[in-house]
C-alpha cells in the first residue's frame, strides 16, 4: 500500500511517514535514525500543541488508554513506538532543549516545550496586561492610577486555572515558575508569598529591560 497522511479522531493530521511500519522501530543506521527521530520530535511537539499536552512518559507507548494513543501507536498497521526508542527520542528532545525531564533526576517523563519558557513568559505577560485593560475599562478601581499602573497580584492557581479558558489554562507549575523567573529578570514580575501559598506580582513595563 502507498503511505498516506491520516487525520485522527481529534482532528490531527498525521504525516504519511506515520503509516510506515519501520517508523516505529529504532533505526540502526545513524542517518536514518536522525531523520526518523527528527520526524518524531516534530509530531510530538505539534500534537502536544494541538491537544495542549505537557507531559509524555516512556510508558505512554506501551500502555494504551492515554492521551498519546493516536501518536505513539498506529492500530491501522498494528505498530507502537518501541519504549526504548521513545526513551531515546525523549533524551534527544531534552538535549535539543525542546523539553526537560520533569520531575528532574529521572529520564522516564518529560515536560514538553511546545512553547519555550521565553515564549510562555511573553504569553503570560500579555495575558495579564489584557486582564488589566479589561479591569481598567469596567471598574475604575481606587488603586488604579491614570496610567493603568495596577501592580496586579495573582496566585499561581488563578493563572493556571482561570474561570474563563485562557492561553495559560493547565500550564504546569514548573513551566509557570520558569516563565515568571524570566519575567523577573526584566523586572516585569516577582514571585511573592501570599496567604494561599505562592503568587506573583506583575509590574508595568518601563521600556525594555
Amino acid at each position: 500500500m502507498a503511505l498516506s497522511t491520516y487525520t485522527t479522531t481529534t482532528g490531527f493530521l498525521l504525516p504519511s511517514i506515520h503509516s510506515a511500519p519501520p517508523f516505529f522501530t529504532q533505526q540502526p543506521h545513524p542517518a536514518s535514525l536522525s531523520i526518523a527521530t527528527e520526524q518524531w520530535i516534530q509530531i510530538i511537539l505539534k500534537y502536544a500543541r494541538h491537544r495542549r499536552l505537557f507531559t509524555v512518559r516512556v510508558e505512554d507507548s506501551e500502555v494504551s488508554g492515554n492521551d498519546w494513543d493516536e501518536i505513539l501507536r498506529n492500530e491501522r498497521i498494528n505498530r507502537k513506538l518501541i519504549p526504548s526508542y521513545l526513551s531515546y527520542i525523549l533524551a534527544q528532545m531534552v538535549s535539543q532543549k525542546l523539553a526537560v525531564y520533569e520531575p528532574p533526576k529521572q529520564d522516564r517523563s518529560i515536560l514538553i516545550y511546545w512553547r519555550l519558557p521565553e515564549e510562555w513568559a511573553e504569553v503570560l505577560y500579555e495575558w495579564v496586561r489584557l486582564l488589566e485593560a479589561l479591569w481598567f475599562n469596567s471598574i475604575i478601581h481606587s488603586q488604579v492610577s491614570s496610567t493603568g499602573n495596577l501592580n496586579t497580584i495573582m496566585t499561581f492557581y488563578e493563572i493556571t486555572d482561570p474561570p474563563v479558558e485562557s492561553p495559560l489554562s493547565g500550564l504546569p507549575i514548573p513551566l509557570l515558575r520558569q516563565a515568571i523567573t524570566l519575567l523577573s529578570k526584566s523586572n516585569r514580575a516577582q514571585i511573592i508569598a501570599i496567604s494561599e501559598g505562592e503568587g506573583v506580582r506583575f509590574f508595568p513595563t518601563t521600556g525594555k529591560a
Binding site: L3, T25, N78
Partner: protein
Amino acid sequence: MHRLNGVGLAALDRHTTTSRSYDLLSNSLSQNQITHLQSQLVSFRSALTAFAIKHREDILHDPAFRHRFTQMCSSIGVDPLAGPRKGGWWAELLPSVGDWQYELGVQIVDVCVSTRERNGGMIELSELVRLVRKLRGLSADQDGKGKGRINEEDIIRSVKTLSPLGAGYTVVTLNDGRKMVRSVPKELDEDQAIILALARAPGKYGRITIDELVVEREKGGRGWTRERARGALDNMLLQDGLCWVDEQDNIHDRVYWVTSAMKWD
C-alpha cells in the same frame, strides 16, 4: 635643515652607524620571531599529538570524527599520513600494529576481494582463516606451531586495524554465534541492484524479507543462502542506510524497507 643629523662627511658616517644599528635590531627581531615561531611550532605539534593520543579511540573508531580530524589537519597543512617516522602518523597512533600485522592485513584483503564474487563480501571467519593459511603456505589445520602461524584472534585483530582504511572491514557475529568478516564492496552494488529491483516489484512498495529474497534468487537460478540474503540486506541497512528495519512484524523478525522504493502520497 637637518642639523641634528650633521652635515657633510659626518652625516655620512652617522648614517652608516644608524643603518648598522637598524640592521642589528632587525636581525635580532627576526631571530626573536624565528625562535618564537619555532617554539610555537613545537607546542603546536605537541598539542596536535596530545590531541591525537587523547582522541586516538575516536580517530580509529569513529569515521565522522576521523574525517573531521583529517580535515582539520589538512586545513592547517599537516598531513597525518606523512610524518617524521617511517609509517607516518598512523603508525605512531597505532603502536600495536607492526609490519607483521600489515602483512596479515594485506592477505585478508586479498582473500576477501578474491572471494567476493561468490560471497558478496561476507566470508565466514573460519573460511577466511583457512584461506589465509593457504596463502601463507601453511596447512589448513596448522595454528599452533610453525613460522607465520595465525589463528582467528589474529584475523579479528587485523581486521580491526583495517578499519581506519574506511573500506568497511568488520567482524560480524551472527545470531548463532558464528563470526563472519564483511568487506564492503563495490561488488555489492550488484546486490543492491537485485534488492532494489525486488523492492520495486509490483505490490512490494519497498517491503522485503529475507525469505522473499531467497525465493527470488532461487527463481533466478542463482540461489542465495539465507545468510547471503541477510548479509546483502544488512549491508544495505547498516552500511549504506538504504533500508529501514521494522522489528514488529507478526511473522518475520526483521522486515526491510527500501526507502527509495517506498511510495508516499
